[in-house]
């Protein structure tokens, strides 16, 4: 029963959600809201307790053992506690908002902006003409890059149209091919889970 009960629940909920998709009635929407919104919130609330326990255990161990970079673990724990307390004490007031707007948001923005440099280094490696495919990629990418900026149109009037054709015909065809496979694979995986054939995600087969 320990193994069967999760499979029965997965089948029941999975089948109900499948049927729910085809029923537009408000009762069906209410059911969806209860399952997806209310149950999810309750489950997440409890799961965050486990997550915080895991977070602190991981970092306390690092600090205790003075592992490499343990100072970052200490900073992470202090930051979490500081944010938590500031949110609780100020009832998520302006001070809490300032912490988010002037510390977390710029830090995340900085991390995101690093992407530009990473793209450059990855492109440099990918565009080395080692074989036919890599050469084809190099040529196509060069055309697309030039065609996307004003100089492309200046060099040759047909360049933007050529780029548009590359993006909407061969590139789109390849992407759609992958997407069809993804769609079928996703449905097959969902069916395997509903039928109890795939149980790896539950821990046991």
């Amino acid at each position: 029963m320990r193994r069967r009960l999760p499979v029965i629940i997965a089948f029941g909920i999975g089948f109900a959600m499948l049927i729910q998709y085809f029923i537009p009635h408000p009762r069906s929407e209410e059911f969806y809201n209860v399952i997806v919104q209310q149950w999810f919130i309750i489950i997440y609330a409890f799961m965050y307790i486990f997550a915080l326990r895991s977070f602190f255990m991981h970092h306390i161990t690092k600090v205790k053992k003075k592992k490499e970079g343990y100072i970052f673990s200490a900073v992470a724990m202090v930051s979490v506690l500081f944010m938590l307390l500031s949110g609780l004490i100020t009832s998520r007031g302006p001070f809490f908002d300032s912490l988010y707007n002037y510390m977390i948001a710029p830090l995340q923005g900085t991390m995101f902006s690093l992407l530009a440099f990473f793209i450059a280094s990855a492109a440099f490696r990918a565009f080395r003409a080692r074989n036919v495919q890599a050469t084809l990629l190099l040529v196509t990418a060069t055309i697309v890059m030039i065609g996307r900026v004003p100089i492309g149109d200046y060099l040759w009037r047909g360049m933007p149209d050529l780029v548009e054709w590359i993006m909407t015909v061969p590139s789109m065809a390849a992407m759609r091919g992958i997407r069809i496979g993804v769609g079928l694979g996703a449905v097959a995986t969902a069916m395997k889970i509903m039928l109890g054939i795939e149980r790896s995600y539950m821990g046991g087969e």
């Binding site: 085809f22 537009p24 929407e29 489950i43 991390m111 039928l195």
Partner: protein, 380 residues
């Protein structure tokens, strides 16, 4: 003098300002109203025919009345439209009637059109416009069950080699030889995403191999539920390999719930711990290249897999092996070699074949002007 004045005014251009009045503006005709089909109710769709002369018309005002509502303005449609969906303040099972009038730029309005027939909004119990999707799901469901039954009878099903998955064993072995851990990143999406479930399905055979090689696996998680599932999955993998003693719950941990903080945290692990193997399997977004490039810089062997098409080029550029799209879902079957799981891949292949045939005949029929086949594949 008089002759001169007559001559002067006679030369001046005479401007005639043609003001439109409500009589010259015509209202729409043949106003029809119906309950909007395949919805949750509280919606009525209107159709009408435009007046013959629309040169002075800016748009149409839509009026509504009910037993307890006098005729009032309920909406506006531009002149190029002949359809309007009224959803503002409508109630189910209440009888409504509509009327329309034309309006021009100066605000001059026409007379009202005739009232529409009485109409009632009500919710439906089935989306008739998506019956084709239901039929396809049932057929596909049948195919999966059919091939699972065949697999149970012991028939061998051929699976093409997937280099990225074949390299897993080598990657785990390399980490063991180097005495370094394996980093497994299960993406940044919660457990309700099929790509994350696929990542968890692959985690178990990977954990089993790690346990067999007596190596170490690090799984930083962004989602609390994913963390719990990952802990159970890794534990089960170690137990199945006969090494439950080697499982360390602290190695499968919650890092953060913010996307770029997670990327920074995982990058930190890569730089400090220097894993010999990085596995990025699951759902990734903008952080994909941040992770893959850092891993590349540390010299780790990298295997990535995602069902997010826009992230695939980044992984192809920065990783040694890339598991593309549906291969991510097939990985669990490929690694476990369970015939029941492998059989479902056969059903996927049949599904793809059906789509290819449909594409071919759809193209041929469309070229011949027979477009009915397109309606079989459109929803909504």
């Amino acid at each position: 003098m008089l002759i001169g004045l007559l001559f002067f005014f006679g030369q001046m251009p005479i401007t005639v300002v043609a003001r439109t009045d409500s009589i010259s503006l015509k209202p729409p005709t043949n106003l029809r109203a119906m309950d909007t089909p395949n919805d949750h109710g509280k919606s009525i769709t209107l159709f009408w025919d435009c007046p013959l002369d629309i040169s002075n018309i800016e748009g149409f005002q839509i009026f509504r009345e009910a037993a307890d509502e006098s005729l009032h303005l309920a909406g506006y449609a531009p002149v190029n439209k002949t359809e309007y969906v009224d959803q503002l303040g409508l109630r189910n099972n209440v009888e409504y009637q509509y009327s329309m009038r034309s309006i021009n730029l100066e605000g001059v309005v026409s007379i009202f059109s005739e009232l529409s027939p009485v109409v009632t909004a009500y919710p439906q119990w089935f989306k008739k416009n998506e019956v084709n999707i239901l039929i396809m799901i049932i057929i596909y469901f049948g195919l999966v069950i059919y091939f699972v039954r065949i697999a149970r009878k012991g028939k061998k099903i051929f699976l093409r080699r997937i280099p990225g998955l074949d390299a897993l064993e080598e990657a785990v072995g390399r980490a063991t030889e180097m005495g370094k851990p394996i980093l497994y990143v299960p993406g940044i999406w919660p457990m309700d995403e099929i790509g994350t479930i696929a990542a968890m399905n692959i985690l178990k055979p990977v954990a089993k191999k790690v346990a067999q090689y007596e190596s170490r696996i690090i799984v930083p998680c962004i989602d609390p539920i994913v963390m719990n599932v990952a802990q159970q999955t890794v534990k089960e993998g170690f137990t199945e390999a006969g090494r439950p003693d080697r499982y360390n719950q602290d190695d499968v941990f919650f890092l953060t719930s913010a996307q770029f903080a997670y990327a920074a945290g995982v990058n930190g692990i890569m730089v400090r711990e220097k894993p010999a193997t990085n596995l990025f399997l699951g759902v990734f977004f903008a952080e994909s290249l941040l992770l893959a490039e850092t891993g590349n810089a540390t010299g780790a062997i990298q295997i990535a897999g995602t069902d997010r098409v826009p992230q695939l080029p980044f992984f192809v550029a920065a990783c040694d092996y890339c598991i593309m799209g549906e291969e991510l879902y097939a990985a669990s079957a490929y690694l476990s070699e369970d015939p029941r799981l492998v059989s479902s891949i056969k059903a996927q292949d049949w599904g793809k074949m059906a789509i290819l045939i449909s594409l071919f005949f759809g193209s041929v029929f469309s070229i011949l002007g027979l477009r009915f086949i397109l309606s079989w594949f459109s929803a909504g």
